[in-house]
Amino acid sequence: MAFVQNFPFFSIILSMFAGIVSSVLPAKAAKWLNTFVISAVGVMSLVLLRFLSATGRPFVYWMGHFPAPWGNEIRAGLLEAGMAVVFCVIMLLSMLGGRKKLLQEVEYSKHNLYYILTDLLLSSLLAMIYTNDLFTAYVFVEINTIAACGLIMIRQNGRTIEAAVRYMIMSLLGSGLFLIGLCMIYTLTGHLLMSNIQDAVAQLFADGAYTVPLLTTIGLMSAGLAIKSALFPFHSWLPDAYGYSTVSSAAMLSSLVSKGYIFLLIKIIYRVIGFEIFTQSKIINIFFVFGLMGMIFGSLSAMRENDIRRMISFSSVAQIGYIYMGFGLGTTLGMVASVYHIISHAATKSLLFISAIGLTDVSHGSRKFHDLTGAAYRNKIAGIGFTVGSLSMVGMPMFSGFVSKLLFSQAAVGHTIKMLPTLIVLGISTILNAIYFLKTVIRIYVPDHRQGGESIPLGAEKVYALTIICFIAFNVALGMLSQPIESWILAGLSMFG
């Protein structure tokens, strides 16, 4: 066994221990430990990614050296390692970009709690990515929920506590459904490890036994994770949770937490139920319909908002709709498009949150559109960042959003029934996106002759500017290097099988 194969385990345990150690460290040390851990995990995942693309085979890591049906396992393939890299990059940038705001909005005595929560969030995300055991996945889903709840309410006011309560309620409904689904699949198959369940499910399906319980189980697990990742009718908690928490939290919640659940769902589709069986069940049609509805209604709600942070949050609902619509197509191309969109949306949405905070800061802290007039002149780098993010969301070539829209429409073409609705709704959704995002871009670039807020010169906030530049570079790289990324996703998905 190569030493590199220890890295998934190392990254999970390192981030978890960083959380534990941070509880006795002063805030400053906790901050540096957090930055170090995120970067270290990112580097380790990158090395792992290179190792895996050299060997071309996924590997299974026995926790505690107990063989398959008894022991707990970690499994790493190309897609898992790559996702870990992406998540680390985005988490690092989100933490950097929101650091100043964190100082203003959160009491200093609570800062090391914030870093503990971030470490725990990273560890649970990594565990959800790498684990090969369904019950372990459930436990880490709950840890992720608790960490996310803490991230929302770390900024103490009535709004955030109410948002945290609503978030917890919806998440607990989701995890309850997931838990009973997983208990049912355990009683049906007698296994908890994903690969063993898959064999048993394939056997059951071939025999035609327990068809209804099997379908119910798939439905329960999918519905649970869909609720947790805020698919359209279950999104009521989302705008408050993203809109009022401190900006790093909002960026991480929208781009990492919900994506972690979706990634777990992809693993369940491929590694627990099996892609063939999943596409034959009718559940993909439900995903498809709700995805399409989310794409339209999310954008419509965003158009009605007069608050920039809530507008960006509602746009997340639409983008989650895109991802589920890709699942609903039921083809490998659709899945590739969805995975690409997970990455693209994560990169873009965190950029939008971080740059929106720069704009509101120079407008007397107001988030209303009227007060944002001319904000891009007062804080140039935030204006550029917001413009790039908006163009990417709308689907301008060169940026990542364009590629994901292209992949979705390519996946839809040739589909007998679903082609037309997909293309029409994609078109409508793009127009709606353009309306509310470009409205905002125009608003921030209209010169304001009244007394504006303070203006921030270009080189004043170096860390913030660097973060925005890194985000833009990441976004453009995703948009320009779509070919290798696409083949990486395809290779990763085929490793799942």
Binding site: I146, M168, G176, L179
Partner: protein, 125 residues
């Protein structure tokens, strides 16, 4: 015969009905404490389901006594392990929900989530 399995799987049926009761309470109640009660009913129903499925008639808990090592003497230990882990998770989640409820109650002197939302909108924070 349709429904013939219901009697045999009586325990699972009860567990799923309880799950439904807890789920709808968590979703629909306005009062936060009642919501938390719903959450606990929901989680406990899952543990009942697991315990019921893990038990095999006429066998004992998997603790080796008197040197009997035969597999057929004991019940399946995995569901019990899952229940234990699940209890830990649900206790911590309940604690978080209760602490959030206390926070909200101290601020707004009500447990009604909808009323809290209306007041927040009025505050216009």
């Amino acid at each position: 015969m349709f429904g013939g399995n219901l009697l045999v799987n009586f325990g699972s049926v009860v567990a799923v009905i309880l799950f439904g009761i807890g789920f709808s309470n968590l979703l629909l109640q306005k009062n936060l404490i009642k919501k938390i009660l719903g959450l606990n009913i929901m989680d406990t129903a899952v543990y009942l389901f697991l315990a019921e499925k893990g038990y095999i008639d006429g066998r004992v808990a998997p603790i080796v006594v008197d040197g009997v090592q035969d597999v057929t003497a004991y019940i399946n230990p995995v569901p019990s392990g899952l229940v234990l882990t699940g209890i830990v998770v649900s206790v911590s989640v309940t604690a978080i929900m209760l602490s959030l409820t206390i926070r909200l109650y101290r601020r707004y002197h009500t447990l009604d989530l909808d009323e809290i939302s209306t007041r927040l909108k009025k505050e216009g924070l």
